[in-house]
Amino acid sequence: MFKYITQRILLMILTLFIILVMTYFLVQSVPGGPFADPTIKPAVRAVLNRRYHLDQPIWMQFLQYLKGLSHLDFGVSIKVQPQADVFKMIAARFPVTIQLNLLSNLVILPVGFILGILAALKKNSIVDHSIQIMVVVFISVPSFVLAALLQYIFAYKLGWFPITFSTARHMNLEKLLSMVLPVLALSFGGIAYIARYLRDELSEVLNSDFMLLARAKGLTMRQAVVRHALRNALFPLVGMILGIFITVLSGSIVVENVFAIPGTGRLSLAAISSNDYPLVMANVLLYTAIGLFARLILDLAYGLIDPRVTVGGGKNAE
């Protein structure tokens, strides 16, 4: 088990490094640069480029960047917030993004579960068909379109919710209200995925032989569903929770812009569109690290919840 985790962490670091190298050179190869603005005088541009070592060959820059990284120096922002420490910028914004992400997961999971279970139990009924239609709409329409629609209808036209996100430091009613629409916009896709998936999985399990045996033993339909069907249908879902977390994270890049939310999503977009190299790199590293780490936790969790899975190929089985 310990050996397995060590192996996994080493592999994670390797993966992270490969992604780092690829992103670094990809970002730098984008035409233009932070100071490509034609209104900047060439002399000024030269000074600025020298200031940020952009005049050096790219491999020199890369080595310097690595040197910085080795003592956790992610560099300073070039364009978005010049001279500001990238790490501090992200640290200030990340909690906002995570807060929204977790809130939408809190919406996605129960709503998705209920819809999925309902659709499976009432398969081929009007309930099932309506849920299916909803699922197709939510999956096909991207979250930023839904975000704009929600904002237009419920904030601009009806005025039920604020148009933009409240930046109040502490939670209050206004801030809570301003979170409703972004959280909803981020949740629809995940709800649809969970509902569709759980419906298929559960209706397969409901038709399985072990459900028949459970019923033959005398369990009522409700007991059999709760004790036998749900647990089996929920296993594969654990894997999806990670996917949903990541999807919401990437969805928030655009949704944060629609609602002017000061999170890492908005920061990433600003960094990318202004070629702020260190900021882009730091964001990519953050998102990649979260993804890899979540994957590891998930694989370890499978070993705990599913008796058939032995983490690390140990000899748990008889």
Binding site: R215, G218, R308
Partner: protein, 378 residues
Amino acid sequence: MGNNTVNTIMKDNMTTNNVVNTTTNTVTNTQRNSILSVKDLHVSFSTYGGTVNAVRGVSFDLKHGETLAIVGESGSGKSVSSKAVMGLLSKNASIPSGEIHYDGSNLLKLTDKEFSKIRGSKISMIFQDPMLSLNPVMKVGKQITEMLFLSGKIKKKDAIAKAAQLMKAVGIEDAEKRFHQYPFQFSGGMRQRIVIACALAGEPEILICDEPTTALDVSVQAQILDLISDIQKKRNLSVIFITHDLGVVAGIADRIAVMYAGKIVEIGTCDEIFYDPRHPYTIKLLAAMPDMDMDGSEELISIPGAPPDMLYPPKGDAFAARNDQALKIDFEKEPPMFPISETHFAATWLLHPYAPKVELPPSLQKRINKAKTESKKG
């Protein structure tokens, strides 16, 4: 109309059985009272293609302590009939008519909740594939005792002892340890033993076995069959044994019902079906069984054609189209159940007094003669 005839004949005969039971001494089962009686059961399924009439008027009685085998090919309605008895038909199934009497009540009139009080504790069932019929993520001991615990018959702390006792009864060693294992840690035969333990936990009176050995390999098959008949004797169970394997039936059944196209075409004691088959379908099934005594020159008999499409059940005798001895009336009118003895009935017009005499295929006749002389010697 045909069904009514069947019913009257069955009814008449039930009463005669009760009256004349002192005269028979070879067949013990006829004397027993029936514990379960199915009357004119119809089951149909609504599908996209139309209504499939899977079971079309099945009637039988299960007597105390007997093993009734229901034999038939895939799609003959044997499994569907048994699932109807358990109240476990799928959602698209409907039962347009029929009665299933158990313990003074008609099971078909019960709500699902009332039915679940009978399932497991009065009538229990085991299934074809032990690889699929256990919950893969629940400890086997828990699966065995689950219902006892839920119904409050035992306390949680007594569950292990109870499960161990049941596991020992079905031949699982080291039960205290294996209680905590999961199905994937057991072999196919062992899993079927656990399924049987699950079915027995509620101490049912009737056990329905739906092809319990089909998914097992031959040596394990024999063990499971032995176990079932052993348990039946010890617990005085009444067993409905569903199979398509006549070889399996020969060893364990007291009576055999042969099903074809959703109907019972012949029913009788084991000896009557094997030594005196009357319905052409039974005769052909028996003749199609290979035999150790056959030499290479004999050709194995096969039944031509395929079973009818139950979306459009044929008029008359469903087997007529595949029967070279079919009479004209077989295509026109459903044959009633003709009594042959007090225990033996067959639904074929060939048993009508005016019908021509039926000769058994020579190879089958030879085999029957041989078996008869052997049993006399033995």
